[in-house]
C-alpha cells in the first residue's frame, strides 16, 4: 500500500498519467510546430485571421470542452463516437488526450511562433538561394535552431496535461480511467483527515515528475538562448513566404479544420445542449431560452459573478504588477533572487489545483491557531488564484523585457533618472500593451476557475466555476450547459478582444 492505495494501482495510474502527458505533448508539439510554420512562413488563405484565431483555444477551460465532447463523442448516442478508437467513445484515454491537446498545443505553438519571429529570415533565404526546397530549408536550417523552443513548449504541454483535473474527471472517472489528479481527489473523498494526508502524499509523486520536467524546460530555455543569441536580433529582412503551390488548399483545410474541431464544434455542441428543453432532445423546433433564463435568475449567479469579477480583476492586477517589477529586476537589473523567484512561480502553475488548494487550506488552519484569521474564503481563493496563475502572466512580461532594446533606458540613466522614474516614464509606457496582455492571460483562467474553487468555496464564496459544478451535479444538464455555453462564449469574446495586435515595426 502506498498512501492508502495499492501499489499496483498507483503504478497503473502513474503510467496512464505519464502516457497521457507524453501523447498530449507529442500531439501538441506536432500541431504547434506545423501551425506555427503555417502562420509565419506560408501564404495560406486567411493567414492573418488564423494567426489570431489560433490563440483562442488557449483561453478555453478544459472542463467546458470536456462537457462538449461528452455530448459529441458519447459512446451510445454521440454523433462523433466513430472518431474514437475504443468502445468508450470520448470517455477514457483518447478523449482525455483530445481535449487536453486541443488546449495544450498552444504552448509549443506560442513558443515556436515567437521563435520563427525572432529567427533571421536571411538564413532561410540563403538556404533557398543555394537551391534547397522548403522541406530542406526547414529540416536543415529552421528546425535545428528551433528545437529547443519546441521541446520547451512540449514540456509545458506535458505539465499542463499531468496536472489537469477537470477533463480527466469528466471523461476518465466514469470508465475508471484514473489519472494521478483524479486518484488524489477520490482518495481525499474516501476518508476525512487520513484522506487529506494520503492525497498530499500521492501528490508528492506528481510534484517530483513536475520538477523533473520543469528542469528539462529550463535547460531548453538556456540552450535556446545560446543558439538564438548570435543569429538573431534586429531583423534585416522580412521573411519571404513559401509558395505552397498545389498544397495551398489542403494546408488551409488542415489549419482551418483544426480551429473548427477545437473551438467551433464544442461551442455548437454546448449551444445546442443549452437550448434543448431536456437532455437528448436536440430538434430545432423544441429549442428554448428557458435554461439560459433560469441561470440568469439564480441568486447564486449574481453572487458568483460578483466574486469571480472581483477575484479575477484584483488578482490579475496584482500579477501584472508583480510580473512587471520582477521582470525588471531580473532582466534589466540582473538580480539573481528575481530570476529564482520567477522560476519558482512555475511550480504552483504545474501543481494540480487540488493539491494547491489543500496546501492552502492546511496552512490557513495552521495560521488560525495563532489567531490570524487566514481562513476567510475569498482570501484563500485570492491566494490560490494568485499563486496558480502568476507564471502565466509573468512569463510573457519577462519575455517582453528581453525583446525591447534597452537604448531608451540607458539614455535616461545617462541623464540621471532613478529606478522609479525609469519604470514610470520608460518601461511602463513601452510595455503597456504587454502588461494588458499579461493581465488578460491571468484574469481569463481565474474568471472560470473550477478545480481549486470547489475545495475552497463556502458560505458567501460562490464563483462561476462552483455554480457550474453545482448545476452539473444537482440541477439538470441543460442548465449546466447553459452556464458553460455562456462562459465559453465570454472566454472566446475576451480572447478575441485581446488578440495580439500586428507587431509594430521596430527599427
Amino acid at each position: 500500500m502506498i498512501f492508502g492505495v495499492s501499489q499496483d494501482l498507483v503504478i497503473e495510474v502513474l503510467l496512464r498519467t505519464l502516457s497521457i502527458g507524453a501523447v498530449v505533448s507529442l500531439i501538441s508539439g506536432a500541431l504547434g510546430m506545423s501551425l506555427a510554420w503555417i502562420v509565419t512562413r506560408t501564404q495560406v488563405p486567411g493567414k492573418k485571421q488564423l494567426n489570431i484565431l489560433l490563440s483562442v483555444p488557449y483561453a478555453l477551460p478544459c472542463f467546458l470542452l470536456a462537457m462538449a465532447w461528452i455530448v459529441l463523442g458519447n459512446p451510445q448516442v454521440g454523433i462523433l463516437k466513430e472518431l474514437f478508437p475504443t468502445e468508450h467513445g470520448s470517455y477514457g484515454f483518447w478523449g482525455i488526450c483530445l481535449v487536453l491537446s486541443s488546449v495544450a498545443f498552444a504552448f509549443p505553438f506560442f513558443e515556436i511562433r515567437a521563435g520563427f519571429d525572432k529567427l533571421d529570415p536571411a538564413l532561410e533565404e540563403a538556404g533557398r538561394m543555394s537551391g534547397a526546397g522548403p522541406l530542406k530549408v526547414f529540416t536543415s536550417i529552421s528546425f535545428p535552431l528551433l528545437w529547443p523552443s519546441l521541446l520547451n513548449g512540449m514540456c509545458l504541454s506535458f505539465l499542463f496535461a499531468v496536472s489537469s483535473f477537470g477533463a480527466p474527471a469528466l471523461l476518465g472517472m466514469p470508465v475508471r480511467s484514473l489519472v494521478m489528479t483524479t486518484l488524489i481527489y477520490s482518495q481525499i473523498r474516501v476518508g476525512g483527515i487520513n484522506g487529506i494526508q494520503d492525497g498530499l502524499g500521492l501528490s508528492l509523486i506528481l510534484l517530483i515528475v513536475a520538477i523533473a520536467v520543469l528542469a528539462l524546460a529550463w535547460l531548453m530555455n538556456v540552450l535556446q538562448k545560446k543558439k538564438m543569441g548570435p543569429i538573431t536580433g534586429t531583423k534585416s529582412s522580412r521573411p519571404s513566404l513559401v509558395n505552397l503551390g498545389a498544397f495551398k488548399w489542403p494546408v488551409a483545410f488542415f489549419a482551418w479544420g483544426y480551429f473548427f474541431v477545437v473551438v467551433v464544434l464544442p461551442w455548437i455542441a454546448l449551444g445546442i445542449s443549452a437550448l434543448a428543453p431536456i437532455a437528448g432532445d436536440y430538434s430545432i423546433s423544441s429549442w428554448t431560452l428557458k435554461n439560459l433564463h433560469y441561470v440568469f435568475s439564480l441568486s447564486d449567479f449574481k453572487e458568483a459573478l460578483f466574486n469571480s469579477i472581483v477575484l479575477s480583476f484584483s488578482m490579475a492586477t496584482v500579477i501584472a504588477l508583480v510580473g512587471f517589477l520582477l521582470g525588471f529586476a531580473s532582466v534589466r537589473k540582473k538580480q539573481k533572487w528575481a530570476s529564482v523567484l520567477l522560476e519558482l512561480l512555475n511550480l504552483p502553475f504545474s501543481m494540480p489545483g487540488t493539491v494547491l488548494a489543500i496546501l492552502i487550506i492546511v496552512s490557513a488552519s495552521f495560521l488560525v491557531q495563532f489567531g490570524i484569521p487566514a481562513d476567510q474564503i475569498l482570501l484563500m481563493m485570492a491566494v490560490a488564484y494568485g499563486l496558480k496563475y502568476a507564471a502565466v502572466g509573468t512569463r510573457s512580461l519577462t519575455q517582453a523585457f528581453h525583446q525591447i532594446h534597452p537604448a531608451l533606458e540607458e539614455s535616461a540613466r545617462v541623464c540621471g533618472a532613478k529606478t522609479g522614474t525609469l519604470l514610470r516614464t520608460i518601461w511602463f509606457p513601452l510595455l503597456k500593451k504587454n502588461i494588458t496582455a499579461c493581465w488578460m492571460l491571468a484574469a481569463l483562467p481565474m474568471f472560470t476557475e473550477l478545480t481549486m474553487s470547489i475545495l475552497l468555496t463556502g458560505p458567501g464564496g460562490a464563483t462561476l466555476g462552483t455554480v457550474l459544478f453545482e448545476l452539473q451535479e444537482y440541477a439538470d444538464q441543460p442548465s449546466a450547459a447553459s452556464l458553460a455555453w455562456i462562459l465559453l462564449s465570454v472566454a472566446m469574446i475576451i480572447a478575441w478582444l485581446t488578440r495580439p495586435k500586428e507587431k509594430e515595426e521596430k527599427s
Binding site: Q76, A279, S297, I309, I361, T457, G458, L471, Q472, Q477
Partner: protein
C-alpha cells in the same frame, strides 16, 4: 468599455453591503426552492438578514467540519440530506437540543430520540428509466435484477463519494445484498459518477437508459416532458430522512428555533413537496405524480437507530470498499 466595467464593479460592491445581523442557513435544498422561499422567509423575519449557503450534502458537511476544526461554524441552521452526519455532529456536541412542537407528528423512527435533530423532508431513491428506450414488459422489478446480464452497459448511478443520497443507497444495498451485488454490477460496466443530475442526463440521452435516481429528479423532469419515468423496486425503495438541526454555535438560539419551526409550517413544507420530496408531516399531500407516503412506506427499506449507528461506524469502510469494488 473601461467605464462600463468600473460602474458594474462598484454597483456590485455597494449592493452587497448591509448592516443587519446575519442568520446563516447551510443547506442542500435545491436552488429553485431557495429562490422560492427566500422572500417569504425574509419577510417573516425582517430583523435579520437571512443568508443561504447552498451545496450538496457532502460539500456542506465538509465545509462545516473544516470550520469546526478551526473554531466554530458560521452556520445557525443545518438542513441537508446526510442522516449519518447529524449523529456525528450530535456526538461532538455541536448541535442544540430542541424538541419542537411543530414537528411532533413526524415519524419517530426518522428522528433523533434525544431531540438534537428532526426529519424535515424525505427524498426517496428509486429507479428511473427512459420510457422510449425500454419496453414496459422488460423493466426490472427489483434492485437485484439489475445484476442480470441483459442490463450490461445500461445502468448508471451517482458517485457515493460525492453524493450523500447515493452513499445512503450504497450503504443500504451493500447491507442487504453484500458487496457481491456491486461486484456483479461492476462487471456489467456500471457507471458510478457525478451526482443525481448526471444519472438523469445519462437516462435522457439514452447513454444509460436505466439509473438509480431520486424520485424528485424524475418528477421534475417529467414536468418538462422528459421521457424518464419512475420505477419503485419491490425489494424496497430507499427513503432518506433528511434532518434539520440548530448548531450549538448559533448566535441567537431563540431566533434559530423560530426559523426551525418555520420550516415545518404548511407553507415551507408545501414548497419542499413541490420540489418532489415527501413531507414527514402526515397532513401534507405527497408530491404531484407520486404515490401516498403510507403506500410507499410499505415498500421502503426499514430505518432504525441501530442501523443509523451501524452505518455511521462503517462509513469510511463502505466508501473504501465501494471505491475498490466499483470505482477503480
Amino acid at each position: 468599455m473601461k467605464y462600463a466595467l468600473s460602474i458594474l464593479f462598484f454597483t456590485l460592491i455597494t449592493s452587497s453591503c448591509s448592516n443587519k445581523p446575519e442568520f446563516w442557513i447551510y443547506t442542500s435544498l435545491y436552488k429553485d426552492t431557495i429562490n422560492e422561499i427566500e422572500p417569504t422567509l425574509q419577510k417573516q423575519f425582517p430583523n435579520v438578514k437571512i443568508q443561504f449557503y447552498q451545496g450538496g450534502s457532502e460539500t456542506v458537511a465538509s465545509k462545516v467540519n473544516a470550520e469546526l476544526t478551526s473554531g466554530k461554524t458560521k452556520a445557525d441552521l443545518l438542513i441537508t440530506s446526510d442522516p449519518f452526519w447529524y449523529v456525528e455532529m450530535k456526538k461532538k456536541g455541536k448541535l442544540l437540543k430542541y424538541e419542537s412542537a411543530a414537528a411532533k407528528h413526524a415519524p419517530k423512527s426518522f428522528s433523533d430520540p434525544d431531540g438534537y435533530f428532526e426529519v424535515n423532508r424525505i427524498p426517496v431513491m428509486v429507479l428511473g428509466y427512459h420510457s422510449e428506450a425500454i419496453k414496459p414488459e422488460e423493466l426490472p422489478r427489483t434492485w437485484k435484477e439489475l445484476t442480470e446480464s441483459k442490463w450490461k452497459d445500461k445502468v448508471s448511478m451517482g458517485d457515493p463519494l460525492q453524493s450523500g443520497t447515493n452513499f445512503t443507497t450504497a450503504a443500504f444495498l451493500s447491507d442487504r445484498y453484500g458487496w457481491d451485488f456491486f461486484k456483479k454490477l461492476r462487471s456489467q460496466n456500471l457507471i458510478a459518477a457525478g451526482g443525481n443530475s448526471s444519472v438523469l442526463n445519462r437516462i435522457e440521452t439514452k447513454e444509460r437508459p436505466v439509473g438509480v435516481l431520486l424520485l424528485e429528479n424524475i418528477l421534475k423532469a417529467m414536468k418538462k416532458n422528459s421521457p424518464v419515468r419512475p420505477l419503485y423496486p419491490t425489494d424496497g425503495v430507499i427513503a432518506i430522512p433528511s434532518p434539520i438541526a440548530i448548531t450549538s454555535d448559533t448566535k441567537d438560539p431563540e431566533l434559530a428555533k423560530q426559523i426551525y419551526d418555520w420550516f415545518f409550517s404548511d407553507y415551507a413544507q408545501n414548497e419542499i413537496v413541490k420540489s418532489g420530496m415527501y413531507s414527514p408531516l402526515p397532513h401534507i399531500a405527497p408530491p404531484q405524480g407520486a404515490p401516498d407516503w403510507s403506500n410507499l412506506k410499505q415498500r421502503a427499506m426499514p430505518w432504525s437507530e441501530a442501523f443509523r449507528q451501524k452505518i455511521l461506524d462503517k462509513r469510511a469502510e463502505i466508501k473504501q470498499k465501494f471505491t475498490e469494488v466499483v470505482l477503480r
